[in-house]
Amino acid sequence: MAKRLLDKGARFIGQGITGFEGSRSLPKMLEFGTQIVAGVTPGKGGQVLEGVPIFNTVKEALAQVGQVDGSIQFAPPLRVLGAVQEALEAGIKWILTGAEKVPTKDEAIINSLVKQHEAVLIGPNTAGMINVAKELKLGFLAVADTNKAFTEGEIAVLSKSGSMTAETSLHLKNNGLGVSWAVCVGGDIIPGTTFGDLLLELEADPQTKASVIFGELGGTYEEQVAELVKSGKISKPVVAFIAGDFTLQLPKQVQFGHAGAIIEGERGKPDHKRQVLRDAGVKVAENFDDIADLVAQAIK
């Protein structure tokens, strides 16, 4: 299986990079040192954006710039399935796709395709990922002001929410801690990458000493982390914060922001998640501002 956490100098194409989010993200990614070697937008072939050549198809782009380590997609939600298919068929094994509101059926088909091609997918509905030391800024995470929130360090920050990926990194920075990998996994029902997938890979990441997960109500991805910690597959310290207690005061079966943030029956309640994480040995922050202290204790 392909790696989710790529190396410094990795080369990318940007699908849909000429659109609103793509064209605003591109200069910021390039400034950061990330190598975006080509863009793909049907009908825009031949243009050059920020010095990056644009092609009509992924295959045309790769014929010109050679195989790449990944594709960063800014395609709109109903085009994501097609964009993923095109990238996989061109032999790309790593895809990050940002669109919010991708139909869940498409995500199920995408997950199946990605598996068939032995590839990996971050997202959909991810703001992106950042590694300061590796000069990787992939997607639109903290696009306006990356340096405000992210400083180089040893802590991985994993979050369903893009803005809380940045806020958690900022909180660590304000408390003298830096970040190795900051990854928004997205808050969809069946994302391509989960907390568990990343924590397993971070076990072998020399840069990372401990991880923080920002979880929220709904789904079972936090519970899966508890299982992995309990079974010893994850041995580096994990600190967790789970948001969404107040939603228990509101009607059930309501979606809060993210598609996966929904409580159906007893599953997905924040206090239940905290309990199973605590039982597994994960340090759970009751208050968001306590996260840095727990991390500092864990890596002492």
Partner: protein, 396 residues
């Protein structure tokens, strides 16, 4: 969107899955054209209708009229009954539970199946089979039990074709064989249908003309409906789609899914009492933010307004959205004929935040507190809770 039973059954029927003969009544005036006995079923979104008096068997015209009079307008699990489904009785040989949905463990679609259906399904043994949308036939090969494969295929296909998040048939029944003549040769009938459609797929389903509705077991408030309309009337960015009234005194305008959850939890921990939950995100124009501002302030006894979001927004134009906030505040004052002198605490950041804060520093007609990246969401919550409490003590 969750469909009413009669809407779900229409989808099943179109896909060639048998449902009981019946009709949907919109009022007491509607004539019933089927022989007795009949089952009458209140059309509400929440489950456990039988336990709440929403499903009744009637054997005569008199019983039918009596029960319909009772049922129309009745509150079943906090929802008002506006439609009633009337169906012929189906003679059952065996009941099954069958559903298709998406599952966070397999990160794909699953078929859940039990040899015994009916109410109380939660306690029965349900078996789960992963379904690969790219290979439905071989996925269904693995499904055990005596439901014919062609029926399973039809049900699975309609689940995917209609972009459902959930398709639950409980019960799916095998019709008693000696009665099959009466049930017009049908061997398998879906006695119930619960379908939840994926709102994200709406753009590719022109046939989705379902009237607006709330959530199961809940009747929306006037503010909640007003907030929802803001997004329905203008697709740019998101403002108001998620709005709920809460019993507190601090109006909330929060941004971003994760931050909103963190913020409300933190405010409650700090002793503050939110008057609502709502969220705006993406890049809404200032008119939408102004409208949402007016909705959150449209209630008595507000002791504070908290504008809370990340300080590192990706694309939200902070100058645009905070200009909308000021417009909304001034319009609401005029419309309500009042003066807002309660504390307004703002913690925001992102594109054009410097311009926005420069503009807000010039504002003299409101009590504004401007916070930035040096103040965490939790610290901002404490400041808001404290200021609202002081305001309440001073003004009673």
């Amino acid at each position: 969107m969750i469909l009413y039973e009669y809407e779900g059954k229409e989808i099943l029927q179109k896909a060639g899955i048998a449902i009981p003969n019946g009709q949907t009544l919109h009022s007491l005036e509607d004539r019933v054209n089927f022989p007795f006995p009949l089952i009458i079923k209140a059309q509400v979104l929440s489950g456990k209708r039988a336990d709440n008096g929403g499903i009744i068997k009637v054997s005569s015209e008199m019983e039918l009229v009596e029960n319909l009079e009772e049922l129309f307008g009745k509150i079943v699990n906090k929802e008002t009954v506006e439609k009633v489904l009337v169906e012929e009785v189906v003679e059952i040989e065996q009941e099954y539970y069958l559903s298709l949905s998406y599952d966070t463990d397999t990160r794909g679609s699953i078929l859940s199946f039990s040899q015994s259906g009916g109410t109380g399904i939660e306690e029965r043994g349900v078996r789960i089979f992963p379904i690969d949308p790219l290979n439905i036939p071989s996925s269904l090969e693995l499904v055990e039990g005596d439901i014919p494969k062609d029926l399973l295929t039809k049900i699975t296909q309609v689940f995917f074709d209609s972009d459902a998040l959930l398709l639950e048939i409980n019960p799916l029944v095998k019709v008693a064989s000696d009665k099959s003549q009466e049930s017009r040769g049908r061997k398998w009938v879906a006695l119930d249908a619960k379908i939840k459609l994926d709102d994200y797929a709406k753009a590719r389903h022109e046939d989705w003309n379902f009237p607006p509705r709330g959530v199961p077991g809940y009747s929306p408030t006037a503010n909640e409906m007003a907030a929802k309309r803001i997004d329905e009337e203008d697709y740019r960015g998101t403002a108001g789609s998620a709005y709920f009234d809460l019993p507190g005194d601090i109006a909330i305008l929060s941004s971003g899914g994760g931050v909103s959850l963190t913020a409300l939890d933190a405010l409650i921990k700090a002793g503050g009492k939110p008057a609502n939950f709502t969220e705006y995100s993406g890049n809404p124009p200032k008119e939408k933010v102004a409208k949402l501002t007016k909705v959150v302030l449209n209630k008595p006894n507000i002791h504070g307004l908290w504008v809370i979001g990340t300080v590192v927004a990706n694309f939200t134009d902070i100058f645009e959205t905070l200009s909308g906030l000021m417009d909304g505040l001034r319009q609401a004052q005029t419309e309500l004929g009042t003066k807002f002198d309660f504390p307004i605490v703002i913690r925001r950041g992102g594109p054009r935040v410097d311009e926005a804060y420069t503009m807000l520093k010039e504002v003299k007609d409101f009590d504004l507190t401007l916070l930035g990246p040096e103040t965490s969401v939790s610290q901002a919550a404490e400041i808001m809770a404290q200021k609202a409490k002081e305001y309440e003590q001073k003004h009673g």
